[in-house]
Amino acid sequence: MAYSDKVIDHYSNPRNVGTLDKSKKSVGTGLVGAPECGDVMRLQIEVDENNIITDAKFKTFGCGSAIASSSLATEWLKGKSIDDALTIDNMDIVEELALPPVKIHCSVLAEDAIKSAINDYRVKNGMPAIELEKSHH
């Protein structure tokens, strides 16, 4: 199966790889997927006092599409408010990266990771967790 140029670009030059200090109150961490399923994403956001995401980092165990989906997600998150970030839909990622149907689960996982990171931040800072849709996979 051939990968799209955008997947190859994100895979070869992943943006925002790294780790934020998860013990900080301003950092939200989402860890989704499972090793036995072949993909695990960890996505972290750093949020300022106005609830704007100032930094985002990821690390992903998975195929090229999973790595590209999470790399793209970090790019999109930076500068967004945590409320706007919640509107990122997995199909936006599918479209941007031209993912084939068998790779849609990678985008779903990225969306889950975003929501999970935001919820972690919200709970840490005394906000109620957002009700998440049941995982699609």
């Binding site: 199966m1 990968y3 895979y11 992943p14 790889v17 780790t19 860890l31 989704v32 997927g33 499972a34 090793p35 036995e36 399923c37 072949g38 993909d39 695990v40 994403m41 960890r42 690390k59 992903t60 165990f61 998975g62 195929c63 090229g64 999973a66 790595i67 068998v102 790779k103 689960h105 996982l109 889950d112 995982s135 996979h137």
Partner: protein, 404 residues
């Protein structure tokens, strides 16, 4: 200069040896006859080519010409052997024993027979990929008519103890069929010494053409018969109807002859290269060779690089054509059933890469592969949250993963 991509997927298929192509070419044009045309020189020329190929194939496995049935490939041979034996001998018993690590052509032929009333035992293998002979013996019943166990495994290359397996089968009055696609032409296979009653082989796994294979069917001690699975002109002693693929058969014969002459030396050269590859790559932390290291094909290495996903890794190894036990592309997300049969955890199965060396693999290519693979593994580990956790001493099993 090194030419990329480097082909290291010789367990999937091999390039055709140019000497095979040369032998085949006349049979497309001037010697185009139907080998079954007995009444003119065109037919005779084709028949002569087929007869010679039959000798070449027979010689490689220690059989006689009359015991070779040409087919379209190993999938057909597997089906003909298993379904054909079942139909022929089902009055005697309805039990067949096979392994969970067999090729799908064997497993699915067995599943088909289950629907027709066969009783199939799918034996698990041990963690090194080999069958436990005591378990095999214990599974035999007075209803067992066939033991179907592959000679060498396509994913991990382990070689089953076929002599011992055939002895157990025969002791209990059952026939022994082996899918020897990965072994024939790579290591010595002898149907007499190994006690094989039926054997499947394929042209394109040994530098011959695709679309041609053979089934060996023993004619003496005992005389084995299979019910044909295709009705027609009664070719191949009534066991496989259909006009013979003369150029393909001639190519298969030539490929067998080349293997007969060269495989011993080739095995020595390839196992040295394979060992070099394995030794260098297992210098990487947390990398493991899958399958029994002593009983293995000379040209196959299957290595798991923990905390890295196989498909992602292959993407970084873009200058090499290899294969992975990961199945991220399949809707099921299930990794290789063969690796899982070894008891490998799913994450290790997802992290595996198969390197299949071949006749045209050079040392320069292996050196390049070692360097590129190491680089790729390190690149992906830098991206892997699991690797980071492992490095921090976190037990990954202690984490409650959101299963999907």
């Amino acid at each position: 200069m090194l030419k990329t991509p480097i082909y290291l997927d010789n367990n999937a298929t091999t390039p055709m040896d140019p000497r095979v192509l040369e032998a085949m070419l006349p049979y497309f044009t001037e010697k185009f006859g139907n080998a079954a045309s007995r009444n003119h020189p065109f037919g005779w020329a084709a028949e002569e080519g087929v007869d010679y190929a039959r000798e070449q194939v027979a010689k490689l496995i220690g059989a006689t010409e009359k015991e070779i049935i040409f087919t379209s490939g190993a999938t057909e041979s597997d089906n003909l052997a298993i379904k054909g034996v079942y139909e022929m001998y089902k009055e005697k018993g309805n039990h067949i024993i096979t392994l969970t690590t067999e090729h799908k052509a064997v497993l699915d032929a067995c599943k088909h027979l289950e629907k027709l009333g066969a009783n199939i035992t799918y034996l698990d293998v041990e963690s090194d990929g080999l069958v436990d002979l005591n378990k095999l013996e214990a599974a035999m019943t007075d209803q067992t008519i066939l033991v179907a166990i592959m000679y060498a495994n396509n994913e991990i290359g382990v070689i089953q103890p076929v002599k011992e397996i055939s002895a157990i089968a025969h002791k209990h009055g059952a026939l022994f069929f082996t899918d020897a696609v990965q072994a024939v032409g790579k290591i010595k296979v002898n149907v007499i010494e190994d006690g094989i009653d039926l054997l499947a082989l394929s042209g394109h796994k040994m530098y011959g053409p695709k679309g041609v294979g053979a089934l060996y069917v023993r004619r003496k001690n005992p005389r084995v018969k299979v019910t044909s699975q295709m009705d027609g002109g009664g070719h191949e002693r009534g066991m496989r109807s259909g006009t013979l693929n003369v150029p393909g058969i001639v190519g298969l014969g030539k490929a067998c002859e080349l293997c007969f002459n060269e495989m011993e030396e080739e095995a020595i050269r390839l196992s040295a290269l394979r060992d070099k590859l394995e030794k260098s790559l297992t210098e990487l932390e947390e990398s493991y060779v899958n399958g029994n290291p002593a009983h293995r094909l000379p040209h196959t290495a299957n290595i798991s690089f923990k905390y890295v996903e196989g498909e992602g890794l292959m993407m970084a190894m873009k200058d090499m054509a290899v294969s992975s036990g990961s199945a991220c592309t399949s809707a099921s997300l299930e990794p290789s059933y063969v690796l899982k049969s070894l008891g490998l955890s799913d994450d290790l199965a997802h992290s595996s890469i198969r390197f299949g060396l071949g006749r045209f693999t050079t040392e320069e290519e292996i050196d390049f592969t070692i360097e590129s693979t190491k680089k790729a593994v390190n690149h992906l580990r830098d991206l892997s949250p699991l690797w980071e956790m492992f490095k921090e001493g976190i037990d990954l099993d202690s984490i409650e993963w959101a299963a999907h």
